[in-house]
Symmetry: C2
Subunit: 250 residues, 2 copies
């Protein structure tokens, strides 16, 4: 029976600006005894994409607005972080005390515009989301192809969600496969035609990958093998971002 296997790619070196992530992943996976294969889905944590793309900011260099300064003081936050959160935001969706839920310039709704102080590789630094995660995924897919591998690439991040405690990894960038799988118009074994069901495989794949990445061990790449994906070179995450007109919670 067809199944799926998920395995981590351990042993990636520390990532700095300009790093060739696909080459590093290919080498690390081979060294771990589980070489990548065409057909795999490679899930890359956004943090290392950001680092490779130089999206690391020294907080001391950030010019802080008066608003950010007052807000940070009121809620005992770091002023430069608040400044970055607001700069990375298209709008603030909800604010309650120190919690800022924002819509990023990409259209993702998340806490603090995805600005991350925890995994910046040092204190006094923050990591921002990639400027164009779909473009990042596309670039990595092209590089994997140069290395002889036809893989789908997902850039993942860890987001919270309303109503439920606990975060999950979701997709913020994709290349090679459609993030959504639609059953609309298909017929189930009972003859019932699906009218609404669309599954977000990209998010389910990203979440599955998190199960082997762990978070302490900081394995930033995982591979999913055995998932049948249809090649689609035009696919991006734009189809996942809900129009604000269709959105009841924005």
């Amino acid at each position: 029976m067809a199944g799926i296997s998920i395995f981590p790619v351990p042993g990636m070196p520390e990532i700095t600006k300009g790093a060739d992530l696909p080459k590093m992943a290919v080498d690390a996976a081979a060294a771990a005894g589980t070489p990548l294969r065409s057909g795999d889905v490679v899930i890359v944590t956004s943090k290392i994409v950001s680092k490779a793309e130089g999206r690391v900011v020294e907080l001391a260099t950030v010019e802080v607005s008066e608003f950010s300064r007052r807000y940070a003081e009121k809620w005992e936050k770091e002023p430069a972080i608040i400044e970055l959160v607001l700069r990375e935001a298209k709008r603030v969706v909800r604010q309650l005390g120190p919690v800022l839920i924002t819509e990023t310039h990409h259209g993702f709704v998340c806490a603090n515009s995805g600005v991350d102080q925890s995994s910046s590789g040092g204190h006094g630094l923050a990591v921002l989301l990639p400027v164009d995660p779909d473009g990042s995924a596309k670039g990595m897919r092209a590089r994997f192809k140069e290395l002889g591998l036809d893989v789908a690439v997902i850039v993942s991040d860890t987001f919270g969600r309303p109503w439920r405690e606990g975060q999950t990894d979701i997709a913020i960038g994709i290349s090679g496969m459609d993030p959504l799988l639609s059953y609309i118009g298909q017929v189930d074994p009972h003859g019932h035609v699906f009218r609404v069901q669309v599954l977000s495989h990209a998010d389910e794949l990203a979440g599955a990958a998190e199960l082997v990445k762990g978070n302490i061990s900081r394995v930033p790449v995982a591979v999913i093998r055995g998932h049948a994906w249809e090649p689609n070179e035009e696919a991006t995450m734009r189809s996942v971002i809900r129009d604000s007109e269709r959105d009841l919670f924005r």
Copy 2:
């Protein structure tokens, strides 16, 4: 390197009230050549749990309130379905045209209180969520134990979410393992102490299982092998349901 494998349990018979789901899953998995093992996580689609528990309603027998009748007429919905959606709800969280986002009696926020007309095994029927999905999972875990298997059990359903198109499978009932994994207080390789990160493994496991279940083929059970879970007999989904006081979107 430790990885995870996910495989479907095909060949489950049509489920009717009183069905012994664990026994059926054990037999079907063995017949498929992938017998269950202790340590597995078994993910069971809520629909077959509901059917086994008799949570199938004949729409013709539903007494429809005046409100439901008018609402259904206005939005061209089936009156008995609206009636069931409201009966299954603690409150309506959002309503926009025909779309009802409700909080169920369990505390889950979802479309139509999880009332499902699509997979009821026949027209004129609807399937309601299990009354107590944690209890359902607990009962199945106990039955698996009788059959010699120490497995964690997750009851899953397919939910939409705000801001993002596409649904994902999430957990609505659990037994044997904690649905959340907390990193709070742990230290990453850079010496940074985690202050907030809690991952919802139950939801990531349910989503991963969906990848092999498909939705047309209607494989209602999947197995995840290789995921390390710590036994916790007290675990329920209550820890995942966010207090309304901590919730910005309810």
